[in-house]
């Protein structure tokens, strides 16, 4: 095993260890996260949508399941479960759309599980998790029609997006819907910062599960990220210092 592999494996084991420890200590050691305006406003926005008979739309992005762009979509699936449980009894339950077929299947599975958990198994519809288009721009081209016909009031974008994310957020803004958007791509984050009402910058998209209390392990993951981030920062500073002093190779 190469040195890179060793370091990588060590970091991986550190991640697992910290996540399990924080998950175990979660109840006794409550964590405090900084406020995210978008996630704070999400609950009330969903409630208003449910009460007014409007729909919540969750976009899982245009990334594939087998690539690196699946991570934010997996985070979006956790969010989808939570929202589906809330909106299961409304007239217009949540609808999840993707730009990838495999992600659409996962969305359907997540919705089915959420409906089963709340005892609304008969209210699940397969088309509530759908693929709008196989390519990013074909997905975005279909989005305005979907937002209009489904009477969307809350437009969530949690997944892997490219430049088309700016268009998607702009379409939601034209519909006067609450737009909460987050992705892993930095370029897209810049576009979303300008176009979305509540942009999620950086890894905030991965923190949505912890803020919505999806599971204890979500909160533990967030705390693990913080710990490792500090370690990385320390390593960067130390490495820069050593490099500056000419010590490091």
């Amino acid at each position: 095993m190469s040195s890179t592999g060793t370091i990588g494996l060590g970091i991986l084991l550190l991640f697992i260890f910290l996540m399990l420890v924080f998950a175990t200590l979660g109840r006794r050691w409550e964590s405090t996260f900084r406020a995210l305006p978008g996630l704070d406003a999400l609950g009330s926005a969903i409630e208003r949508a449910v009460e007014s008979g409007e729909r919540v739309h969750l976009s899982l992005g245009t990334g594939s399941v087998s690539g690196t762009d699946s991570a934010p979509a997996l985070a979006g699936l956790s969010l989808l479960k939570r929202i589906a449980a809330i909106t299961s009894m409304s007239d217009k339950p949540v609808v999840a759309t993707t730009g990838d077929g495999a992600m659409a299947l996962l969305a359907q599975d997540s919705l089915r599980t959420a409906y089963n958990d709340v005892g609304a198994k008969d209210r699940f519809e397969t088309i509530s998790g759908r693929m709008l288009g196989p390519t990013p721009f074909s997905y975005v081209a279909t989005l305005p029609t979907m937002l209009d016909t489904e009477d969307v009031a809350v437009h969530l974008m949690v997944g892997s997006f490219g430049a088309e994310s700016g268009l998607a957020a702009d379409f939601g803004d034209r519909k006067q819907a609450m737009v909460l958007a987050g992705t892993d791509d930095v370029q897209s984050q810049a576009l979303l910062y300008a176009t979305a009402q509540y942009p999620l910058v950086g890894e905030e998209v991965f923190a949505a599960g912890a803020y919505l209390d999806v599971s204890p392990l979500h909160k533990a993951s967030l705390r693990t990220q913080d710990v490792v981030r500090y370690l990385v920062v320390g390593a960067i500073l130390i490495g820069a210092l050593l490099r500056t002093l000419g010590i490091a190779p």
Binding site: S66, G67, D69, P134, T135, F137, G162, A163, V186, Q187
Partner: protein
């Protein structure tokens, strides 16, 4: 074996017994309307006319009718009995016309035990004078209750909150007609008078309440229930030995339902250990006096009942405390509805017993007979009047003179109360009501003050089984008939907040009924800003493109990244093809075609073969179009110097797979030359010597996003070897890929990004390509965007300043 309880003494008797073994009362009442009884034309119609009628009641009725016939209307305002109005519906009315039964009552001369005991109790001195006259057995039967009423002042039922010493309204002395007036009193001797008195006094309930309670209440008449004993003896207290709290069933039947009524009637009564159980009933038949059934044995009439006695007699079950308040609603209603002419009401207020007096033991004080009602009917209680016969009933129907009755000493010393009740009640401890009972008391607003009329003013019941009795809660005019609530009735107190909430609720309900018109769709505002910005941008791009005016000069400055790239391309071996990866969406083709063109042109100009591949389905068509467009001047031929491997499915995973084993990742090709139809692209002579990624002369990745570029940079690096990796990027992806290029161990060997660099590359190539043709439009559009952003910033800042000033 089944048992029957005596209606008088409540002692159990065998089922087949006709008379009580203890008191001699008839156990099985005579049926009204039977063959043995004379039919009565004017018999009152009552719902229970088919019910068995006690013989005593029958005697009372018959006597009352007889009295009525003799004396006629006594009072003008007395309520007419039901039978005079066309037939009394009640069974009691029929009793008035019933033939006196020969076998009614106990045998002559027979003194029941209870009466003997009563005589003994009468030996006790009384604290208060009472006027109780024992009815003279030799006297003809008269309305003995009428005589009582005539001789005793009417007493008021104590008001609520009055001193507990006040007794009930029925304070008239009991005036037995034939000397057997105290028979019923004597029966009560066998009861646990102490229980009754104690309970009554403790709860401060009228002795009438005793008759208003169900038979089960008998057990609660505990003499020990009330601890406060102010020394006022009650002649009923001497009637010990009877069943604890035992009330005769017939008395219980006459009682009003519910203990609460009983409590409210006479609250604040004292409880005395010796409180008698003697019920205080209105035995008056409407409009008639009923004489005693016959010569009564010499009895020691009970002492005059004082208020305490009456109060204690009326204690309901379960009450053992005194209460200073009296809720006499029921009693007040009772008195309100009863006229003064109602007969048969025994005014207990005027009955004072002094149990302690020995003289009271010897003789019975005079007991005033209750005044005769208009109807003149008195309820005949045969069991109470021992030895009474039918003759006595008839003969004494008109008048029952207690003065002729030899009363025991103790009874004679009983004097009726003055009626005020407050004077002689001071030494009686106020009855207390237990907490649980107090909690059941309705709120003050729901407690109308009821004044209990004097006995003479109380109306006589004319219907029902209680016809002829005074002080009865009239069913029809009071209970059955609807009446308006009194002014002091229940008033709902509503606060302003509650009123406002009620109004709000009412408005909400009313709004539900109103049809709300459909909301008019909001007028859609025109996106002026969007149109304006779009127009500016469009004009900025179109005008230079249409006019061809060189607005923006070509920059002389060359990017420092261009040099290394050009050096790599110019040093590539020409016998090894270059792999170009077209990993971008068709939408980016406008920029990336222009950026990639000079590099492709440079490769074609040097005669280097190009092989394309893409990890996106739309990549191969883009590659085909671009290569064909750029390679036209260089006679590019598909399959000879250009080959398209096609679509590499699998995303990033496929990149690694292709990097490791390209021939295994791509099996076919895209738009292969006709001579290669059905063959794999790897059969082409261009790829004859290519077996891995490192066999390519260079790998150039054309990407719009950083992810794709990073994937290729990271996944292919282990398999590139010495083959350079060049990135052709969009302007936005360049900052994130530059670290791969500028690191000490760069994974990217060259970068070509942005239209300015492409334009400079074209200048180096000596050809004006797409970058040049799009330069002016690009410049104008960017220039417009710059000014729009400045305008937006200014607009936002000015608006913010103005709002702050307004605030």
């Amino acid at each position: 074996m089944a048992e029957i309880r005596c209606p008088m003494c409540s002692k159990p008797n065998p089922e087949d017994a006709e008379t009580c073994n203890f008191c001699g009362a008839r156990l099985k009442p005579l049926m009204v309307g039977s063959a043995d009884e004379p039919s009565s034309a004017g018999a009152p119609q009552d719902p229970g006319q088919n019910e068995p009628v006690p013989d005593w009641l029958a005697r009372i009725r018959s006597k009352a009718e007889a009295d009525r016939a003799e004396e006629g209307e006594e009072e003008d305002d007395a309520p007419k009995p039901a039978d005079e109005g066309g037939g009394s519906p009640d069974w009691l009315g029929r009793l008035r016309q019933a033939e006196p039964l020969q076998d009614e009552g106990p045998p002559e001369g027979h003194i029941p035990d209870w009466l003997e005991e009563t005589s003994e109790a009468a030996e006790k001195p009384f604290e208060q004078e009472s006027e109780v006259r024992i009815p003279d057995p030799d006297r003809p039967e008269t309305g003995w209750l009428d005589r009582l009423r005539a001789e005793s002042p009417s007493a008021q039922v104590p008001e609520a909150g009055e001193d507990q010493a006040e007794g009930p309204a029925e304070a008239d002395l009991f005036e037995p007609g034939s000397g057997n007036a105290l028979d019923w009193l004597g029966e009560l001797e066998e009861r646990d008078i102490d229980d009754a008195s104690a309970g009554l006094a403790a709860e401060g309930v009228s002795p009438w309440a005793e008759f208003e309670t169900p038979p089960e209440a008998e057990d609660d008449l505990s003499p020990e229930a009330d601890a406060q004993d102010e020394g006022q003896d009650d002649w009923l207290g001497d009637l010990e030995g009877g069943e604890p709290g035992g009330l005769p069933d017939w008395i219980s039947e006459l009682s009003e339902p519910g203990e609460a009524q009983a409590e409210e009637i006479e609250p604040g009564l004292e409880a005395e250990d010796d409180a008698p159980e003697l019920p205080d009933i209105d035995l008056t038949l409407p409009g008639e006096e009923v004489g005693l059934p016959g010569p009564q044995p010499e009895l020691s009439a009970p002492p005059a009942m004082d208020d305490d006695t009456l109060e204690t007699a009326g204690t309901p079950e379960g009450t053992g405390e005194q209460s200073g308040e009296q809720s006499d609603e029921q009693t007040d209603e009772q008195t309100d509805d009863q006229s003064d002419e109602q007969t048969g009401v025994f005014d207990w207020d005027e009955v004072e017993f002094d149990w302690d007096s020995e003289a009271a033991q010897d003789e019975l004080p005079e007991i005033e007979a209750p005044p005769v009602s208009v109807a003149g009917e008195l309820p005949h209680v045969p069991a109470l009047i021992m030895g009474e016969t039918d003759d006595v009933l008839k003969s004494d129907a008109q008048d029952f003179d207690l003065s002729t009755v030899e009363l025991p000493d103790w009874l004679s010393e009983v004097r009726p109360d003055s009626g005020d009740g407050e004077g002689g009640r001071g030494d009686l401890a106020p009855a207390t009501i237990p907490n649980w009972l107090e909690a059941m008391r309705p709120v003050e607003t729901f407690r109308p003050v009821v004044d209990i009329e004097p006995e003479e003013e109380q109306a006589i019941e004319s219907v029902g089984p209680l016809a002829g009795l005074r002080g009865v809660l009239l069913a029809e005019p009071v209970v059955a008939k609807p009446r308006a609530a009194t002014a002091s009735g229940a008033r709902l107190e509503v606060t302003e907040r509650q009123f406002a909430q009620a109004e709000l609720l009412e408005r909400i309900v009313e709004q539900e009924e109103h049809e709300i018109p459909a909301a008019v769709a909001g007028k859609r505002t025109l996106p002026i800003a969007r149109w304006l910005v779009s127009a500016v941008m469009l004009l900025a791009v179109l005008i230079p493109a249409l006019t061809g005016t060189p607005v923006f000069p070509i920059p002389q400055r060359v990017s420092r990244d261009l040099g290394p790239l050009v050096g790599i391309v110019n040093t590539l071996p020409t016998d090894r093809p270059v792999l170009m990866v077209f990993d971008f969406e068709p939408g980016y083709s406008g920029e990336l075609d222009a950026v990639a063109e000079p590099l492709i042109e440079n490769l074609l100009a040097r005669g280097i073969n190009i092989v394309t591949v893409s990890t996106r389905p739309t990549g191969p068509p883009l590659a085909v179009d671009l290569i064909n467009q750029i390679g036209a001047p260089y006679q590019v031929e598909n399959g000879r110097n250009v080959l398209h491997l096609g679509y590499l499915s699998g995303g990033p995973s496929a990149v690694q797979l292709f990097s490791a084993a390209p021939r295994e990742a791509i099996l076919k090709g895209f738009q292969l030359p006709p001579e290669m139809s059905g063959q794999s692209a790897w059969a082409s002579p261009l790829l004859r010597d290519v077996h891995s990624l490192s066999d390519f002369g260079m790998v150039a990745v054309v990407a719009a996003g950083t992810d794709t570029a990073q994937t290729w940079a990271e996944q292919s690096h282990p398999w590139l070897g010495d083959t350079p990796l060049v990135m052709i990027l969009s302007q936005g992806a360049e900052p994130l890929i530059r670290p791969y290029f500028e690191s000490l161990t760069p994974q990217v060997n060259g970068i070509l990004s942005g239209l300015p660099t492409a334009l400079a590359y074209e200048q180096l190539n000596g050809r004006q390509g797409m970058a040049f043709s799009r330069w002016n439009g690009f410049g104008a559009g960017a220039f417009a965007a710059e000014w729009l952003i400045i305008a937006g910033m200014a607009y936002g800042l000015i608006g913010w300043i103005m709002r702050r000033r307004r605030a």
